[in-house]
């Protein structure tokens, strides 16, 4: 708590924390959008979401280590994760689509443990990161420093989010996905192969996570156990922002990023993830308390 007065004495420092938070938030929002897609279309809450992000980070890390440019790492991570997502759907996820949500949660929890231990075994438990080779942008006479890679990651996340929305609105597959989300039975009757749509949805989500993971590896660090906080963050953004509007999702992501960064600054970095988890519990309890007054429950 001793850091709190520093923020009031140094408005520039507070602004720095806010900017960092917003830049992080875009990546959170991207991952959350993928989770919302899977949740909305397939009625599956994917606990392995964070592990897909981690996997994407490792793919990008291997690509860059092989001597290829980081930008290509993002593309290859997305493509590789598309395949992983498709495979996971064919092996596991198709059995839990639209069924008991707890079974889906537990199955994806098992998957998350499987993936994180597999990566731990193959790549080792060390912390890794990708050197992007970009500099740092210094503004306001040295008071605020923003690494350029964070700006690039922010822009990439926003662009990907917008591309995703356009894809869902305009493309044939996107329309099929939305139709299936509205009413899977009606979509099936009208000749949409819903199994293919589900597979594509999950693969698309995995690809989004892959790209986001590559961005995470470039802006921060990756290690095999980083998954769960990302899953919890995306879950939180989804329940706050809903799934309709990319702008609200971005806003919620930025809000979470800023809140989390302030908490990390004020309480100390070791409490930052604990803060995220507690915030989720607080939000859930608050929402349910509001609903109980109308004699409803959170569904």
């Amino acid at each position: 708590m001793s850091n709190l007065p520093i923020l009031f004495d140094n408005p520039a420092l507070a602004l720095q924390v806010v900017i960092d938070g917003i830049l992080v938030g875009a990546i959170f929002a991207l991952i959350a959008y993928g989770m919302a897609l899977v949740w909305g279309v397939m009625n599956v809450i994917n606990i392995a979401q964070g592990e897909l992000v981690m996997l994407g980070g490792y793919v990008a890390w291997y690509v860059v280590r092989a001597g290829l440019p980081p930008a290509l790492g993002i593309v290859i991570a997305a493509a590789a994760l598309w395949l992983v997502g498709w495979l996971l759907y064919r092996l596991v996820i198709f059995r839990v689509v639209d069924g008991d949500l707890f079974i889906a949660i537990l199955a994806t929890f098992g998957l998350s443990i499987l993936i994180q231990q597999l990566v731990n075994q193959v790549a080792g438990a060390d912390v890794q990161s990708i050197q992007s080779g970009l500099g740092t942008l210094v503004v306001a006479g040295g008071m605020i420093a923003v690494p350029e890679i964070k700006l690039v990651a922010f822009a990439a996340a926003v662009l990907l989010g917008i591309a995703l929305v356009v894809f869902l609105k305009r493309s044939r597959l996107g329309q099929a996905i939305r139709a299936t989300a509205q009413n899977a039975r009606a979509a099936r009757i009208l000749g949409i192969d819903t199994h293919r749509v589900y597979a594509a949805t999950f693969a698309l989500n995995a690809a989004i996570c892959g790209a986001a993971g590559a961005l995470v590896a470039m802006t921060w660090v990756i290690h095999p156990y980083l998954g769960l906080p990302y899953t919890i963050r995306s879950f939180m953004i989804v329940i706050v922002a809903g799934i309709g509007n990319i702008a609200t999702v971005l806003l919620a992501g930025a809000g979470l990023g800023v809140a989390e960064n302030f908490a990390g600054f004020v309480f100390g970095a070791q409490y930052q993830t604990a803060f995220v988890f507690c915030l989720l519990v607080a939000i859930l309890v608050a929402r349910s308390a509001i609903l109980v007054r109308q004699r409803k429950v959170l569904r």
């Binding site: 919302a36 949740w39 909305g40 009625n43 809450i45 596991v92 059995r95 839990v96 008991d100 949500l101 707890f102 079974i103 949660i105 537990l106 199955a107 929890f109 098992g110 998957l111 998350s112 443990i113 499987l114 993936i115 994180q116 231990q117 597999l118 731990n120 075994q121 769960l228 919890i232 879950f235 989804v238 329940i239 809903g242 799934i243 100390g268 070791q270 409490y271 993830t273 604990a274 988890f277 507690c278 989720l280 519990v281 859930l284 309890v285 349910s288 308390a289 109980v292 429950v297 959170l298 569904r299």
Partner: protein, 353 residues
Amino acid sequence: MTRRGGPILLGASLALLALAFPRLFPALTTQATFLWLMILFALTWDILGGQMGYNSFGNILFFGVGMYACAVVQRDSGLAYYPALLAGMGCGAAISVALALLLGPAILSLRGHYFAIATLALGVAAGDLASAWEYIGAGSGMTATLFPGAVGERERFFYYLLLALAVATFLLVRWLYSRRFGLALNAIRDDEDKAEAMGIRTTRYKTIAWCVAAAILGVAGGPVGNVAGFIDPRELAFAGSTFGVWMVLMAMLGGKGTLWGPVIGAVVFHVTQEAFWTYLLGWQRVAMGALIVLVVLFFPAGIVGWLRRRWPQRFSPARAGESAESREPAMRNVEAIDSPARAPGSPAQRSSA
């Protein structure tokens, strides 16, 4: 041999084996101690998860709290070893119950997957907080107080302590399920709104059930910390991705919502897990993840559920010691009328995000 002679004989020989185990297989005592812990885990998880339909991923919270409370009492109280251990276990239970009472009404107002994920977050948050708090050793953990006896005696002492705790837990939950309390939990599982409309004080029952689970786990935490010798905040005390998930898996593997299911599931699971450690060293955690996925996808009804489907007359609920329903026919009739098509233990939950 009479019809009941077989089970009695089997039970007696198993009890004898359990009592004589440390003498027969001294090298395996610690593994067997953890077997009792696993049975205790599965039984306590099933109070909420199986009987009440509240699938918690965060029960590990109380285990860790109990473990740390006991270790702190042992470190700071200045008592001799055994009184300190006893005081620590009591203290762990008290703090766990207080925490359950405090969090209960709020957390238990969440339903279905929201409850599952909120409890998951609670468990992980507790681990993060414990590994940042200097008073309890932060990330470097705590070392348990040295056992005063001879070398092999420590293992034996804690073996019998955990055995006693597991048996006591079994008897306690069997007693609870045979009473009105068990019926209330089942009513909440089958349809909470209806149960409330029928006059069951759902919040009270849910909180009490959580407190029972918290008390047992709080008591068990202390001895386990001493068995392990070293308390790591994330790997032992608040081990959400091992113990926390295993609780769920063991209950499900045995058959959730049954009395014997968690016990059977815990035994099968623990033996499998030890085999993984022996034969797949290095890959055992990967195999564990795969096992979770396989059990959840292909065996959600569990061993007892499978037995009941395969031999319905032999393993029907009335024979397995869960004759609770037959005592209050009125309740059963209401349920039968209301939800004829619903399978117990799996209230169909549809969500719209």
